[in-house]
Amino acid sequence: MSVQQGTAHRKWVDRVLSVNGWFVFGFLYLPILILVIYSFSDDRIVGIWGGFTWKWYDRMFSNPEMMKALANTVKVGVVQTVFATVLGTMAGIALDRYRKWLGKQAFDVILYLPVIIPEVTMGAMLLIWFTQVLPIDLSIYTIILGHIAFSTSFVAIVVRARLANLDDSLEEAAMDLYANRWVTFRRITLPLIMPGVLGGGLLALTLSFDDVIITEFVQGPGATLLPVYVFGLIRRQVTPEINAVSTLMLAVSMVLVFISLGFQARTGAGKANKEA
């Protein structure tokens, strides 16, 4: 009887958990869904449905400032991601594959700090550093430097985690077969850690695309990025055009999620094969 009671109890708990779960999903998704719906509404006021229209999308694409901000965002995103991925991968390899070297412990701390530091602090210190100490003019290049400074660490963490799960016997085998270090790296290590490198790169790209605070601190005149530009628009006045550009940004985020899931699925499959 007590067993029956137990299962009844478990079922009841499970039902409560399920209801709660779908409520949380509703909480997470309804706001986004409503935002997307109103990007097609033919009324200037967001929240009043005025019939279906594409006009806010037309307006967005014919807004030169918006398009310039978009172009800058792509530029910064691509350039900073390339640099952060290379620097982060090298840092991950140095930390995982080399046991002891000069200043390793300090490097380990320095590398993790950008992950946990509040973004405002990072933005403020880079602003002071660029304008008061170096001093250089703020421009799209200072944005790129700032973005590399915070996203490199994330790449390094992802790559290091990937390396930690791979034993180095394959690399040793290659070296035993007289492959030199560079060939070993290019033919063995790099292909093995590629999912980590690409995953880290995607993370860096997403972080760059998500950033408002640091960019707002270190941007130069006329070189703003899309999120900061949209942020300024929202502050002035809410219009369905903002819903349209938001929908576009959501679509980009979704594409990035699915690409990253694709990598993970492939990595998972590889792991399963190895275990079998």
Binding site: H9, A94, Y98, L113, A124, W129, S246
Partner: protein, 298 residues
């Protein structure tokens, strides 16, 4: 080493080994060097500089002047306004961490305990999408929901339960909760999914009730997820800027906005530097306390 000492004929080996080891160590150093230099130049030195500049005098344009030192900005932290803003930020960040945990734990537990791997993965993807989605856009969604014509305002007015919440503290809280909940759920899910359920079963076999087994076994075992999630929510909530700026009003200024103001219209860079260092210090203290407390009580 002692083994080698017994074999004097191979005296050269330790030397060679040492040499190889040294070469290997230099290779590690040079692999890290570019990143090392970059981070020293664009992270470590700026961090040191901002601390130094928090003791600098302010020029008429608000920029710091080196060479004239003052404690004025650090004393200013005691001002009633600054104290109010600081405590409000800490309070909201704490409240957000607490509620994220209360909502996120049963949620993550539910996902992690689905029997079929495909169901689990599907639900996980549903969490990952908002997690990766643009933060500004997700905050903007709440701006429109809480505005005069927003759905939530209309529902509140129709039921008579609440009015327009935009530009109030509850609006900021809702925005923070919405923004950072996925950061809590993912580490919790990872911790609960990797849990050894045999231990929970063992507790049940030893006549522990469902609740007791949860409290004494499941909860302590998911502690790494709780700690990671709490830190991931607390830190960005404490430095929140976009959320209070878009959803809050003049009466809900948080540290993040207050710092940005010092560098813009406030024209007081040294004080902005002081506040930036302060928020970093609060974050570090909170993290240490959390690890200590977590280690003891959970």
């Amino acid at each position: 080493m002692t083994m080698l000492d017994d074999r004097p004929s191979e005296e050269a080996t330790p030397d060679l080994e040492k040499k190889a080891e040294r070469a290997e160590s230099w290779r590690g150093f040079f692999t890290a060097l570019p990143t090392y230099l970059f981070l020293v130049l664009f992270f470590v030195l700026p961090l040191v500089i901002i601390l130094i500049f928090s003791f600098a005098e302010r020029s008429r344009t608000g920029k710091p002047v080196l060479g004239e030192w003052t404690l004025e900005w650090w004393m200013k932290l005691g001002d009633p306004l600054v104290r109010t803003v600081t405590w409000r930020s800490i309070w909201l960040a704490f409240l957000n961490t607490l509620f994220s945990l209360l909502i996120g734990y049963p949620f993550a537990y539910w996902i992690a305990t689905r029997k079929r791997a495909m169901t689990r993965n599907f639900l996980l993807v549903l969490v990952l999408i908002p997690f990766w989605s643009n933060f500004l856009v997700r905050t903007y969604a709440w701006r429109t929901l809480l505005d005069s014509n927003g759905l939530i305002t209309k529902v509140g007015e129709a039921t008579g339960l609440w009015g327009k919440m935009l530009f109030t503290e509850p609006a900021v809280f809702l925005g923070l909760l919405y923004g950072y909940l996925p950061f809590m759920v993912l580490p919790l899910y990872a911790a609960i999914e990797h849990l050894d359920w045999n231990l929970v079963e063992a507790a049940r076999d030893l006549y522990a009730g469902a609740w007791k087994a949860f409290r004494k076994v499941t909860l302590p075992l998911s502690k790494p997820g709780i700690i990671a999630g709490s830190i991931l929510v607390f830190i960005p909530s404490l430095g929140a800027y976009v959320t209070p700026d878009l959803l809050g009003g003049a009466k809900t200024t948080l540290l993040g906005n207050y710092i940005v103001t010092q560098f813009k219209s406030g024209r007081n860079w040294p004080f902005g530097a002081t506040l930036s260092v302060t928020i970093l210090a609060i974050m570090m203290v909170a993290t240490v306390i959390y690890f200590r407390k977590g280690g003891r009580t959970l």
